[in-house]
């Protein structure tokens, strides 16, 4: 597998993707909702309605480091703090998953729909170069969008929350680990699965419908965080990262093994 050829596939696909608003719009809109709407919703609505009993239950299951952070906060401050720095964290795993799923679904299925796939498969680019190049074009923009969303979210939370908390509350080590370690690993899982699916279905829509399944485990993390069953603290994040990296390697190997030009050509409408 040659790096210059991976970049060649990446460059070609990126030129196509960035000129396709059907693909670019969801990539930009979803992160905008997450990074702007979520902090605005919490910090611009003044009162919350949780009882002190509910709050005590939540605080009890928090790690010590977080408990120390909220010492001296009133109920409203605690709720806002927990929402902004804890509960919303796994939502940022959805950004790369959803952004990349649109591009990854289009990877091979889009070429089949536009009838360009045969010319591409006829080139001397290897199976690995084609597959990894296609994955790269889904991975890079989705991670850029995720990082930008995180920067915007952090800035909004710190600016809008300064009067409420009296200090900047983000970024935390948990957030940095989620964005820099877990998000890329989860993103690769989603992309690899979606690219494999995209190569084996006839059209973009079919690929996208199947790729939505990748959101299920991420929603599991969201629910786990909300219910306090699986809190994203540094140890958990690193363990999850290792698990996802292992899954990524396995999926990539399976995907490369399954990649067959003939199979792809047989799925042209």
């Amino acid at each position: 597998m040659r790096a210059d050829r991976l970049l060649l596939v990446f460059r070609k696909d990126w030129l196509e993707v960035r000129r396709n608003w059907e693909i670019m719009a969801p990539i930009l809109i979803i992160p905008l909702i997450f990074c702007v709407a979520l902090p605005s919703m919490i910090l611009l609505i003044p009162e919350t309605s949780s009882s002190s009993n509910d709050l005590e239950g939540i605080i009890r299951i928090l790690p010590e480091a977080v408990k120390n952070e909220i010492i001296g906060f009133n109920d409203n401050q605690i709720i806002a703090y927990l929402m902004l720095t804890f509960i919303f964290m796994p939502f940022f795993l959805l950004i790369p998953a959803m952004a990349s799923s649109v591009i990854a679904s289009d990877s091979f299925a889009g070429e089949k729909e536009r009838k360009t796939i045969e010319g591409l498969l006829a080139t001397p680019l290897t199976d690995g170069e084609l597959m990894v190049g296609k994955m790269l074009v889904a991975f890079v923009p989705s991670m850029i969008v995720t990082l930008l969303s995180f920067v915007v979210y952090t800035a909004l939370v710190d600016i809008l929350g300064l009067s409420l908390f009296g200090r900047f509350v983000l970024p935390t080590i948990n957030w940095l680990l989620v964005i820099l370690l877990l998000a890329p690993a989860v993103s690769v899982t989603g992309i690899a699965v979606t690219v494999i699916v995209s190569a084996r279905v006839k059209g973009f829509r079919e690929a996208q419908q199947l790729s939505v399944l990748i959101i299920v485990p991420i929603m599991g993390l969201v629910v786990g965080q909300v219910l306090g069953v699986l809190l994203l603290v540094p140890t958990v994040i690193v363990i999850l990262f290792v698990i996802f990296v292992i899954i990524d390697i396995i999926i990539l190997k399976i995907g490369l093994g399954m990649f067959e030009r003939e199979e792809i050509l047989s799925r042209i409408r």
């Binding site: 210059d4 045969e118 001397p124």
Partner: protein, 313 residues
């Protein structure tokens, strides 16, 4: 060395046999026509030889490389114009060409740019190089598709309906390009086409296939002779009389003679080219007033239609 050597090449998709034990050789620099009705297996044969799909049986060497053991080498050595132009509508013509040139291994930028410019100028696309391919007419898209297929000067070129959608001038340009590539650059060309006139004009040999099996292979002349025999001689005569008909049928070298419409006599001769002057002279001596003389050769179209008509094979 042969450009292509196929030995018992077969491809089955489940119970359907798309290509059935095709064996043929195409010499270096030869233009070889692959003819047959829709669904006859032409595209599958090209896909097998271009290493896009694997054969179910048999083997082949393309540009000296084995399609089973060296598929990457084969893909580097061949250019393919598929049924669909396969160009990226959201990329400009230049971006399309740069991508395929690099994918086919033209890594040197100066060399790449020179080759792209040469092809764009040949196809009258230079002025439109910065326009998105999606804005191009069908003919321009076809030209761009051919340009991308030949950008790396492949040793073997597979062209599926290259003149489809082109105006007469552009179609002639493509034919000239094919002839130049074959004669001067010794590139082997496999031409899949329904345009029999084009095949007749360009191909040194053709193979007619139907339902994946070869029906006939050889030069155009060989196929014509094989199917329809020797050319016939048609002589138009003013005022044909019974006496003249009897004399004409007995002329030397005439195997048979039948009257046609409008005073035309149709002669079956062993060698029409050689015998025609004598026949005309003898008819004139016998009192015939000759209006016209034509040697009628069966066309490739006649041969093709005869071979591929329902019920044959």
């Amino acid at each position: 060395m042969s450009g292509i050597e196929a030995e018992e090449l077969s491809k089955r998709f489940g119970s359907l046999t798309a290509v059935n034990r095709l064996s043929f050789e195409v010499g270096t620099g030869e233009i070889f026509g692959l003819l047959g009705p829709n669904g006859s297996g032409k595209t599958t044969t090209v896909r097998l030889l271009a290493c896009l799909i694997a054969p179910s049986g048999g083997s082949a060497r393309v540009a000296g490389f084995d399609i089973l053991r060296e598929p990457l080498k084969v893909r580097e050595a061949v250019g393919v114009l598929t049924e669909n132009p396969g160009i990226y509508d959201r990329l400009t013509a230049l971006e399309n060409m740069e991508f395929f040139a690099e994918a086919y291994g033209l890594r040197n930028k100066v060399e790449r740019d020179t080759r792209i410019r040469e092809l764009f100028e040949f196809f009258d696309l230079w002025e439109r190089r910065g326009d998105k391919a999606g804005t191009f007419s069908k003919g321009m898209r076809q030209k761009l598709a051919i340009a991308k297929a030949v950008v790396h000067s492949p040793e073997v070129l597979f062209l599926d309906e290259p003149s489809s959608g082109l105006d007469p001038k552009a179609a002639k340009d493509i034919r000239d390009l094919m002839e130049r590539m074959s004669r001067q650059e010794k590139q082997t060309i496999i031409l899949c086409t329904h345009n029999l006139e084009e095949a007749e004009r360009l191909c040194s040999r053709v193979m007619i296939i139907k339902k994946g099996s070869p029906l006939a292979m050889g030069s155009i002349e060989e196929l014509q002779k094989k199917l329809r025999g020797a050319p016939e001689l048609e002589i138009g005569i003013a005022g044909v009389e019974d006496g003249l008909l009897k004399k004409a049928a007995k002329l030397r070298g005439v195997n048979s003679m039948k009257p046609g419409k409008g005073g035309v006599l149709i002669f079956d001769l062993d060698d029409a080219e050689v015998r025609t002057p004598d026949i005309v002279e003898e008819l004139v001596k016998a009192g015939a007033r000759v209006k016209s003389v034509n040697i009628i050769r069966p066309t490739l179209e006649d041969t093709y239609l005869e071979l591929t008509k329902e019920g044959s094979r």
